[in-house]
Amino acid sequence: MIRLLRRYLRPYAWPIAIVLVLLLVQAIGNLYLPTLQGEIINDGVSKGDTGFITSTGIFMLVVTFVVGAASIVGVYFSAQVAMGFGRDVRSAIFRQVEAFSQVEINKFGTPSLITRNTNDVQQVQTLVFMVLALMISAPILIVGGIILAVRQDVPLSGLLVVVLPLMVAFIAIIMSRAIPLFRSMQVKLDRINQVMRETLAGVRVIRAFVRTGHEEKRFDDANVDLFSTALRVNRLFAITIPVMTLILNLSTVGVMWFGALRVESGEMPIGNLTAFLQYLLQILFAVLMAVFMFIFVPRAAVSAGRIQEVLETEPSVHDPEHPVKPALVATASDGDGRDGRDGLVNETGTGGRIEFRNVEFRYPGAQDPVLHHASFVAEPGETVAIVGSTGSGKTTLVNLIPRFYDVTDGAVLIDGVDVREMDRADVWRRLGVIPQKAFLFTGTVASNLRFGDEDATDDELWAALAVAQGRDFVQEMDGGLEAPITQGGTNVSGGQRQRLAIARALVKRAGILIFDDSFSALDFGTDARLRAALDRDMGWATRLIVAQRVGTIMKADRILVMDAGRIVGSGTHSELLASNETYREIVYSQLSAEEAAA
């Protein structure tokens, strides 16, 4: 935690210094006020000197005003520092996560990353604010209070030696019991969240299986569990304040008694007694404050650790120091000079060659590679399909091209250049990727389609939609291109979502198109028409198609058959049908014997 604080608070050194000075002013003022009050009683009230009371009173108000002003200015700066700290940390986390490859994303999990960037930052930010506003002043008040109390009367200060440890010990006992309870409460709150999330996600199934009662019981168990822990925590704290109050109150009784003895013996003026009482309370309050602050420390420390973990995780995929750009014959057909096209791809078919050279990949920490010795070439204008059973490595293979992961051996090359030697941004500009999960972003149809090319005209969007077989339904949507899309694209059907995702990639007009099982939600007819349109419109591009359905891929120029991380066959549909057992098995599993014979 200290490291995180030190690093992200450094830019705020000056405001922090100002806050410290202001806190000092406040502390001195606060310590001075009881003295003035004591004087009013000693020299004013008890001597009947109203003039003195008035003048001291006005001085007291001036001090109060200064303290108040210092406090307001202090709050201004501490609010800025704490919130600025939060902002900076959030920003650092977000940038870090953006730099992560899929390896790191998987390691943390998306929900956890979101929590870390929001909730955890808030915890630490709150602590920073509290430290600046309160905790720093606690030691000042304690030390100052002790000095002043001792100045009032040394022997009476002995009381502190008894009271302080008593309070600290009591708080320590409470904390030692409370902190584990809080920890477990957090876990139980998570459980409530989990059960509720499952209930919401599975509402159809729950009702279909008539398990509402069962789910309610599950929720109730979690609820009761949370309740009993929360109750224990709160009951624990129910005793804290009365006990602390009692300790404080009893110490005032002690001061009265021993103070009276000292006054009687003439060793202490009576005014000092009241002043002493105030200092005593001030000290004890400061102690209490500091101790109670500490309850936030463990939580904030946990959060800081979680943040630190993100910030310190090195992305496993880096840009090279000296990036290489594949040499290309730059003859882009549309010479409008727009980014993302010229010099990267050309539609005459001389760019976009993909080569896998003896590629091996294993997940970090995994014993066995999920991909062995994969080698193949996809030329511009070619359609290369990849089929195979679940877990055979198809998706892994295509994920290596955009460098979601880096190969562990061998190389992936685009136009003859190892992708690891290229800037990732440069690699991505050459790719049009349609992922397995067609994820759309909040916005409109158009804003989603323009993801690949911000400057694409409406005509270009319609053209891409036409190829993706999405023109009809977009035309029917209220607002057409401007029809709203909810997060994730949940307001359109699975098939529509997939077609929009395909159109999005087409708008980019990249030279390499990667379809990762992107036709699964389409019916056969749409699938076939889409592929035909692709051939017409994007015939010049290199196309990699991962698919399950034989119908989708059998027209491909080349089909790679994968099994257990190896490419076990390569050829056209008819070649493979004749020669490759794995492929035959796949084909016959999808077409009944009757159909195959027909």
Binding site: G29, V45, T50, I53, L61, T64, V75, Y76, S78, A79, R90, F94, Q102, T110, L113, F129, A133, E198, L200, V205, R207, A208, F209, V210, D220, N223, A230, L231, R235, A238, I239, I241, P242, V243, T245, L248, T252, M256, W257, A260, L261, E264, A286, I295, F296, T390, G391, P402, Q487, S493, Q496, S520, A521, A528, M554, V587, S589, E594, E595, A598
Partner: protein, 694 residues
């Protein structure tokens, strides 16, 4: 309930002055100790304690926990929130009684302490006087010296010249004081202890109510509300309410009681001084209202920004890979920075503005202090009041200030809690499903004959969907539902399972209108295997057993075997005890589907709804799924959302859907002969695909 940061209403201005900071620091929540510590000398009141350290200081509560929304109807919702406490009313009354006692003791404390001070002071003055001189002589002597004021003062004192402090009297007073303090703490503890139960039980009930409510809401609600929002109501909002109940109610009780009690005592001591203190009340209220009003807006802005930022982070992290390959990282970061900056601006302003309440009110209280000291000093000097009374009064004035600051903070906290309560009540007020019939018809066994009789249905009143559809599915028949992508095939499922209500006509099972059955009975006759498999966090065994309550292990294994998943499960290291994690990432899509088929086998329904989609299922698993599904359909009425030609051709009836409507029905031959939509669909899709394939 917790020390979540949300609750920590650390008051930025808290250290503004005096231990006063202690008040919000300990959270006015307090159960009982919510009164300034009796006994401290002037500024030393032990702040209204909180059960929860860091319970909401003025305004800060809202900032850290929930978006502060302007409650639309604050009073109604607030009253409704209080009504939630009704089941605990006996205990609430008890809490109030205990609070009264506790506050009474706490308020008496300073009065007694004042007596002790007087005792010491009198003894001190007395010891300064020569023994054997009477008080009257002293007074006369002072007057003779022209010290009229001092003479008046001394005249009012209970002096025994030369005697010094009366320690036995002091001891008596202090013992009483100890008793008062101990009792006050005990009562305060009891009150807090009971209140913890009251609020936690109330929160638990609220959560249960919401969960049960969700069980009665129509599917339409779930289809039209973002999951995250509903979730947030159940967790964040209820949590916020819980925190506030815990803190504010006891705090409110003790604050009000303290104000009343202190005011009463002040008046008994000195009406003139009391007036000064009373004057500071409207001033404090005015300042609080002024500042809180401004901070409220900033809090609202802060929470709006937090929401925006969260949404952006969530979306960008979820679509991480796409953001990357489309080269949109720069834009993502720019948007993030923009939202982040907005959040920063709103939150530091909110912090700052609400942070000024404390110093401002402290200044008012010090002003009050000086006023009392000046006038009190004059009164003591002129012998109208004793020194002890003035000191006690000053303490009371402190005690008076704290509850006012507290009440200000409660107002702020309540705004946020009521906003949350409104969101929860809104959910509780959602229209529920049509109630099950009072005397439902129960079918001892179902054969599975399903008939649609002139049904009509639409999701949106102005968009016709299904009109006058009739269909008969005899027991054991299979009905294939076909149509292009997005044809709205799930609508049929929604109607069959009564997830949605018909607008007209009726659906019967074995001749019984489904609306005459309970939903539970109706749904038990169905088995459903959907494309979106739904597995929950638990073991494979538990997930299969979901099909039927109290299934034995043998039955579970048999079901798994029938679904061709038994072998796979047994190859797993933990077999049936393998825990499926939240996203079921440890199973492939096909394996998940097999498990849901096993679940349906176990449930043994007479009617099936199957979704044949085969996306992302590898081909070998696909074979297993096909076999399992075929086995499952044997002897059962089945509605199949079909993609496979064989399924469609073998179906007894084919429903052809297009754009959400059923356009044709009949068997394969009759539909082909008709040369309509189906024929077109068939020719364009299946024959082509087939021709290509072989």
């Amino acid at each position: 309930m917790s020390f979540r940061p949300g609750g920590n209403g650390q008051n930025p201005g808290g250290n503004g002055t005096q231990p006063a900071a202690g008040a919000p620091l300990f959270g006015p929540g307090a159960g009982g100790a919510g009164r300034p510590a009796a006994g401290g000398p002037p500024p030393g009141g032990f702040g209204p304690g909180g059960r929860r350290p860091g319970g909401g200081g003025p305004g800060m509560m809202g900032m850290m926990s929930m978006p502060v929304q302007k409650p639309g109807n604050f009073r109604v919702s607030f009253r409704r929130l209080l009504q939630r406490l009704a089941p605990e009313r006996v205990l609430v009354v008890l809490v109030v009684v205990l609070a009264v006692i506790s506050v009474a003791f706490a308020v008496i404390g300073p009065k007694i302490l004042g007596n002790a001070t007087n005792d010491i002071f009198n003894g001190y003055i007395s010891s300064q006087l020569p023994a054997g001189v009477s008080k009257d002589q002293v007074v006369a002597g002072l007057r003779a010296n022209g010290q009229g004021q001092l003479a008046d003062m001394v005249a009012a004192m209970d002096l025994h010249p030369g005697q010094g402090i009366d320690f036995s009297a002091l001891a008596g007073i202090l013992f009483i004081l100890i008793g008062v303090y101990v009792l006050s703490s005990i009562f305060s503890w009891m009150q807090s202890w009971i209140m913890a139960g009251v609020t936690q039980r109330t929160v638990r009930r609220l959560r249960t109510d919401v969960d049960e409510k969700l069980g009665r809401l129509p599917l339409k609600y779930f289809d039209s509300h973002p999951r995250g929002d509903v979730l947030s109501r159940v967790t964040n909002d209820i949590d916020n309410i819980g925190q506030t109940l815990q803190q504010s109610l006891t705090q409110l009780i003790t604050s009000v009681l303290t104000i009343v009690g202190v005011l009463a005592l002040m008046l008994t001591i000195s009406p003139i001084l009391a007036v000064i203190s009373i004057l500071s009340v409207p001033l404090s209220v005015f300042i609080t209202v002024l500042i809180a009003g401004r901070s409220q807006k900033r809090f609202a802005a802060q929470w709006a920004s937090t929401g925006d930022l969260n949404a952006h982070v969530e979306e960008m992290h979820t679509g991480h890979a796409i953001v990357k390959v489309f080269g949109r990282q720069q834009e993502a970061i720019e948007t993030f920075d923009r939202e982040n900056e907005k959040l920063y601006q709103a939150s530091y302003q909110a912090q700052f503005i609400s942070g000024t309440i404390q110093p401002a009110l402290t200044f008012v209280s010090n002003l009050n202090y000086v006023g009392i000291a000046v006038i009190g000093g004059l009164q003591v000097a002129s012998g109208l009041m004793t020194l002890g009374d003035v000191i006690a009064f000053i303490q009371y004035s402190r005690q008076f200030t704290f509850p006012i600051i507290q009440t200000a903070s409660i107002a702020n906290v309540l705004q946020s809690a009521v906003a949350s309560a409104e969101r929860v009540f809104e959910l509780l007020d959602e229209p529920e499903e049509v109630a099950d019939p009072a005397e439902p018809i129960r079918l001892p066994t179902t054969r599975g004959a399903v008939a649609f009789e002139d049904i009509s249905f639409r999701y949106e009143p102005d968009k016709p969907l299904i009109d006058d559809l009739s269909l008969v599915a005899d027991a054991g028949h299979s009905i294939a539902i076909v149509g292009p992508t997005g044809a709205g095939k799930t609508t049929l499922v929604n109607l069959l399972m009564r997830f949605y209500e018909l607008d007209g006509g009726r659906i019967t099972i074995d001749g019984v209108d489904t609306r005459d059955m309970t939903r539970d009975d109706l749904r038990r006759t169905f088995g459903m295997v959907l494309q979106d498999t739904w597995l929950f966090h638990g073991t494979i065994r538990e997930n299969i057993a979901y099909g039927r309550d109290g299934a034995t292990d043998d039955e579970i294994h048999a079901a798994a075997e029938a679904a061709h998943v038994d072998h796979f499960v047994r190859t797993l290291p933990d077999g049936y005890d393998t825990v499926i994690d939240d996203d079921a990432t440890n199973l492939s899509a096909g394996e998940k589907q097999l498990l849901t088929i096993a679940r349906a086998f176990l449930a043994n329904p007479s009617i099936l709804i199957l979704d044949e989609a085969t996306s992302s299922v590898d081909t070998r698993t696909e074979v297993l799924i096909q076999r399992a599904m075929a086995g499952l359909m044997e002897g059962r009425t089945a509605f199949v959302i079909a993609h496979r030609l064989s399924t469609i051709r073998d179906a007894d009836t084919i429903l052809v859907m297009n754009k959400g409507r059923i356009v044709e029905q009949g068997n394969h031959e009759s539909l082909l002969a008709r040369g309509g939509f189906y024929a077109e669909l068939y020719n364009s899709q299946f024959t082509e695909a087939l021709a290509e394939a072989v």
